[in-house]
Symmetry: C2
Subunit: 158 residues, 2 copies
């Protein structure tokens, strides 16, 4: 199976450098196929499902792409911290603060689909304290708040 040349969405140099840096830190390899998935995600300002992403990539590359391929690339991107998975929506989102490692919380607008990624040390600390109080050793916290973003709240009733 000769590997196809990968045609990728345009990717600003800063994102590429970021990805390279993260790979060095994590001892991972950056390949064209992996970068292409990241680039494709960056063309959207909304979370995408894995299969939406497959569709986008197939259009871009004019060929079939197996689900597993994309899932593997997503796993990679999550592993190096460039992508988040929204557990409550089963979708994927490029990290909004990719310049440093962090835990995130997400504000998901149920009207327009926009997601705000926020980074509150306070939430981290509080959840960590609560875990402690229950004799629980916390590893990772999923915090996803559903509601209406400012723009949509201004329009909707209520």
């Amino acid at each position: 199976m000769a590997r196809q040349p990968v045609s990728s969405a345009p990717l600003a140099a800063k994102w590429r450098k970021l990805a390279e840096q993260r790979c060095i830190e994590k001892g991972e390899r950056l390949t064209p196929a992996r970068l292409a998935v990241y680039a494709e995600m960056l063309t959207r300002d909304r979370p995408v499902s894995a299969y939406e992403l497959i569709g986008l990539l197939e259009q871009r590359q004019k060929r079939k792409i197996a689900p597993l391929t994309v899932y593997r690339h997503l796993d990679f991107l999550i592993r190096i911290g460039l992508v988040h998975r929204l557990q409550s929506a089963q979708t994927y989102l490029p990290c909004g603060h990719p310049d440093h490692a962090h835990e995130s919380q997400f504000l998901l607008c149920s009207s327009c689909g926009h997601v705000d990624e926020v980074e509150s040390r306070g939430v981290e600390r509080l959840l960590s304290r609560i875990a402690d109080e229950h004799g629980f050793r916390a590893d990772k916290a999923v915090v996803e708040v559903k509601g209406l973003c400012g723009a949509c709240a201004a329009v909707e009733p209520g």
Copy 2:
């Protein structure tokens, strides 16, 4: 299609009364089939997937049950507040504090599968404040902390 009589897992009177009360409050109807799903969930002390639940119910009732049936009953139980869905695991869990309406947070042990349901007004307030600061109108928060419960943490390395 004549409806089958439903053979149900044993269900303590207090759970039945609770379900009845919740239905009155919400203007919903309690049916044998719905109660049977709740009863089956209460026989487990762990979250179950929808399909595990289908299997349990099929064994109990000695007949095929369509996925949609169980999903509908789960939706009902969630609607009246007797069951939670764990978004990060895609599993379902009877509410641990079903006597009153509340938001919950969950501590999920990745080793033994046990889940602690906690109810922190502090978390609610903090998330609500953060949402406000971002001009976001919060509706519901998903808070699921993965890690090790006390018992498992005592055994595992680290």
